[in-house]
Subunit: 399 residues, 2 copies
Amino acid sequence: MSLPHALLIRNVRPLGKAPVDLLVRDGRIAAIGAALAPPAELPTEEEDGGGALLLPGLVEGHTHLDKTLWGMDWYRNEVGSRLVDKIDNERAFRHASGHDAAGQSLALARAFLARGTTRLRTHVDIDTQAGLRHLEGVIGTRSAMQATQQIQIVAFPQSGLLLRPGTEALLEQAMAEGADLLGGLDPCAIDGDPVRSLDVLFGIAERRGCGIDIHLHEPGAMGAFSLGLIMDRVAALGMQGRVAISHGFCLGDLPPPERDPLIARMAQLGLVLITSAPASRSVPPLMACRQAGLTVLGGNDGIRDTWSPYGNPDMLERAMLIGLRYNLRRDDELDVALDCVTYAGARGCGFAAYGLAPGDRADLVLVEARSVAEAIVARPVRRRVVAGGRIVARDGALI
Amino acid sequence: MSLPHALLIRNVRPLGKAPVDLLVRDGRIAAIGAALAPPAELPTEEEDGGGALLLPGLVEGHTHLDKTLWGMDWYRNEVGSRLVDKIDNERAFRHASGHDAAGQSLALARAFLARGTTRLRTHVDIDTQAGLRHLEGVIGTRSAMQATQQIQIVAFPQSGLLLRPGTEALLEQAMAEGADLLGGLDPCAIDGDPVRSLDVLFGIAERRGCGIDIHLHEPGAMGAFSLGLIMDRVAALGMQGRVAISHGFCLGDLPPPERDPLIARMAQLGLVLITSAPASRSVPPLMACRQAGLTVLGGNDGIRDTWSPYGNPDMLERAMLIGLRYNLRRDDELDVALDCVTYAGARGCGFAAYGLAPGDRADLVLVEARSVAEAIVARPVRRRVVAGGRIVARDGALI
């Protein structure tokens, strides 16, 4: 670590607005304004922003660091189309290959950082075959990255919570060993017993005092049914503001008269909605959710894994895909796409001290773009990434 | 132009297969095989392919070179959401700004070439306000690019064929001045008189002896109705194999019992289908269309224009968006996404001498990728682009 010092970034345009200087001290934004003077008492590194667009550090709300094959040999995908095909294939592949979740998650976390992501929520598979091996790997990555990237870990029962006896105990143990949140998965479609599945899940959360982030792929009426059961438990257990729904495809299937009361209840209970905005699936109505007061944030889902060859640790690309999925073309609409991978992402995940105001953690991204909209559609190489007050990447490469 | 010479590219993997050498003479592929010897009688440039993946030149099947604002000041999009809002806004913007269709189309065509696109079909607006000004600009670009990039021009009545008297005569004149195909647009939703609109359109095509490429955005039953009227005319006029449907959203709306007979008739009449695979719209069923024998190809649609800030003159990115839209995850499915921007593109547009076999025009793309699927999801910088037998771009930049 270097000695305490200040960083003065000159001539950047916060979210495309007029140029300012920005002073960073002790890892925080100390001041933002015109023609700032370096502090007299501290050695100060000056950086010319060159009129770049300034964004707060990007936020990945839903990925699977432990699954990625990033940087490995090309994986030839010949997997069947059903969800269970993908689940079973992956578990077998990782068992056979002795998949290195520690090394892989670190490689992908670093790739995210080089592209400006300074806060990240990852699900990590917990199952009776791998036990807590993947979790331990990703906890190592969280420690390795802690000075520059905040990582939240969700203990995720990818192979189901009820199907394999012993999973509940493993999830409890995962929480004890340092997972930040408890994950869930399709209580009807995968577990086949929604009431018992959710009772077990919320039981763990109650005992451990942790928040929940549930993968809900279930479509239409089935998904709406599960969502109702989830919300009953949020209300009964006083878990308002502590539960996230990932995917929530059902909200894209239902007609507005059925959908809107669900969304209103989600907003009332402080649920947040996390979407990868897949082009090939129904998706929750972004604007209607936001208008109802729901926080909606974006994530890649898996990146280059046995499930899918797609994904990119670049949250500006994810913002573009969100924009394309929701047909956001106007500049003011693209501000919403950016919000999904910045402010709404931080708020929805509960990342504190986030933003571009004095006192916020100095997580910053500088890109060559004339507007937020251009940053999203052009996804330029990150000229600089600042994390925790230090420049960590230049021109797309970590220092 | 340089003197006649040969080009010997060593160590490339055609579509990811085993490494070969490739000999180019007189702008054509002369031989492909292991350890080729340079011809004794000609000076031969040797190029080390370094084991790169070799693709045939990429094909853009549907874009609007004349509309683009590529490289211009950022255009702040505040346009309304209806199709007519976008049409009227654009016509007014271009009239007020004196939009330079010649310079803009050339800039975008060159950007396409740098990213490996050697064949391209562009629509060009013909309307009573701009007259043939955009066409003349894009004809200039077609001439300027002819040694390296084949450009097909579609004379396109963006503001409707019937709505503004004089448009029919302008389209006839456009064909006389050198447009390659005749364009059409939503005969119900825009022109409001589908029978008369299509009779006028096919009348021009009959008189000029040209093929047709029709923008058909109309949804559901309305689109199916228009498609039926189009096919009646294809059959009556003997225009089998000479008509393309761009977009064809209606085929994504209809249930299979209504949709499949339409697709079968399209295949029987040799229609081709061109899609940008938009994430926010219904799209024709790619696999069902291919299984029915229909040629389906891909295109960007507009790129950075007053309609939309999106689009990228990179057909590997378009292949990725096609893959995402149709949920193509397996390597064999991603071969289909590549086909849409290579072989099917060339076949559907009628670009001759296309491919990687001896005798084909030497339009080649070298990328660092282990497989076709990786080339699509990673979209690496094009290491080399060869067009008409000459290396025209290195590492993403035109020479």
